[in-house]
Symmetry: C2
Subunit: 334 residues, 2 copies
């Protein structure tokens, strides 16, 4: 009754954008179930830009990935065998045991998934996940959206960004989004973003932002850092609030990206606040209630880019940075 499961291991630390040569696909035989253990077959796993930070030699915020061991990452799967009273075959569960087709783990590693009725199961790794909630916490608590705010979202076609844009639109705001390439631009227009900046088509991002926001903006939800953040200082209205969520611009390079215009923080009375979603979990039930309502009424679109097959995960990971994927990038495993 032993199950063979394939997993992805990091075999070398990437320089720049990760390529398949940094990874290996390894087949393992899953162990027999011990007491309190559960066997799960993953259905979807998540590919997150921030995983790139864990591929480095060291990271500020978390232990990095060890080489030649299975990598961690969010996954949704189905229980196939259980020696825990808390789970039975057929249960849909969330775990951090992504990058593998199946696994055996203590029941305590698993979380029962709460499906949002109008959204597909994979939304448990996008809108209906901590990543969607990141957009909500950043918009509602850190930026503290107020009526009339004009909102700028960077990496607007990404998982967090596209949900941030939709939340701001549902709340009645004018939204400016930046993204790279015509497919993302089309997607952002489809979800109602008012002004889309294709940063790849703009020689001068600051000028493009100024044109997209002729009267400035009041809230910046930043997933990028670097030159987009630097331009934002220059175009922001007085007293604008910057919710700093991510710095994807710097993930693939070892050199730090300089900012030149942060001095404008003073004359413009800007408030910048970095946040980590785990500090704001008290808001999660409120988000899930709001999301369920938006999804049921058709106001909210869940968007994922789905690759099929574990063997394609390493190549798909690189696409996160080449700008080919829209919304959450997931790998379908079953």
């Amino acid at each position: 009754m032993a199950t063979i499961s394939r997993q992805v291991q990091l075999t070398s630390r990437p320089s720049g954008v990760p390529t398949p040569s940094n990874f290996a696909i390894v087949s393992v035989t899953l162990p027999q179930l011990g007491d309190g253990e559960v066997e799960v077959r993953n259905k979807f796993m998540s590919l997150d830009p921030s995983m790139r930070l864990l591929m480095r030699e060291q990271a500020f915020h978390a232990p990095v990935y060890a080489l030649n061991t299975p990598m961690s990452g969010r996954a949704v799967g189905e229980v196939v065998r259980s020696r825990s009273a808390d789970f039975k075959p057929g249960d849909i569960v969330l775990s951090n045991h992504g990058w593998r087709e199946g696994f055996v783990s203590p029941a305590t590693d698993l979380q029962k998934a709460q499906l949002v009725p109008s959204l597909p199961i994979q939304s448990l790794l996008s809108a209906a996940s901590i990543r969607g909630f990141t957009a909500y916490a950043g918009m509602m608590r850190i930026a503290a959206l107020r009526p009339g705010d004009v909102v700028f979202v960077s990496a607007a076609a990404g998982t967090v960004g596209s949900i941030a844009c939709q939340i701001a639109k549902i709340k009645g705001h004018t939204v400016i989004g930046s993204a790279g390439g015509p497919a993302k631009v089309a997607f952002l227009k489809e979800i109602g973003v008012d002004h889309v900046i294709d940063y790849k088509a703009e020689p001068d991002f600051g000028a493009a932002l100024r044109k997209a926001a002729p009267n400035g903006f009041d809230v910046f939800f930043d997933n990028v850092g670097g030159s987009q953040l630097d331009a934002a200082f220059q175009v922001a209205n007085n007293s604008a609030r910057f919710a700093l969520c991510g710095t994807i611009a710097g993930f693939n390079q070892d050199e730090l990206i300089p900012l030149y215009h942060s001095n404008l923080t003073i004359v413009k009375r800007l408030r910048m606040e970095g946040f980590v979603v785990w500090d704001h979990q008290d808001l999660f039930p409120e988000y899930m209630r709001e999301l369920s309502g938006w999804a049921a009424s058709g106001k909210f679109k869940s968007k994922e880019s789905i690759e099929v097959g574990l063997e394609n995960a390493p190549a798909a990971y690189g696409k996160l940075f080449s700008g080919e994927s829209i919304g959450a990038t997931l790998v379908k495993l079953d």
Copy 2:
């Protein structure tokens, strides 16, 4: 009865630190008083680092100084003649008509001074002024001091910095201050700063800050920007609050100073807020009450560096940036 008054005019826009060659001393005959006008003899004028921004071709926050006209700046003086019902000879008044020995202006340009009983008259341009209040507003409202906070103040021996340090000490905090040179270090120790960093004596500011704040800090009151701000990102505790008040590091250069470590804002959940004191005037009466109490009880020391004579103002201005002046730099005019 005409009065001859000397004034300082900017004759060329400085490159780097201003020198006397950028200024001229010009004698003018004050006009006769018109209805509602007042003649004032200045007693002290203020030399502010931020005036340097107004010596540029353009500034973000205010009109720059025109060449070959009297410059503006805070001054305290005494009314010598009045054709306004609101002022009589002998009144002590505040104005923006600094950089000159005397002037005639509409009474509406003047503000009656409220002396703090235990402080000298020149404190109207330092502790008992909008500059002292800048320290208070930044500490109490922007940084929002909480019990137990460890506080780091840059340019700690300057007008705003030295008052910020004293406020934090009076409120019971551990205070780390940066300043340049042994005289400033001695002054900061005298006013009770717990750990003083002489940035001129430290090859690696970040290492010095880490040593002065082995357990990090919770509040940064920044008057400097540049490399001190960059180091602060690295040493700050999680959830530290940065009250950004000034960027003296960049005043004398046209190139913008890059920041490399602002990405730490996210993982450390830092909150940075720039502020301009004029937005917080509602707190001013509270500050004056607190200051009066501190001064009366001897808890608070007013500190000014005083030059004598208008003709010495241009050279004294440059000293603001060479690190020779402690506390507010004033010129005594009468």
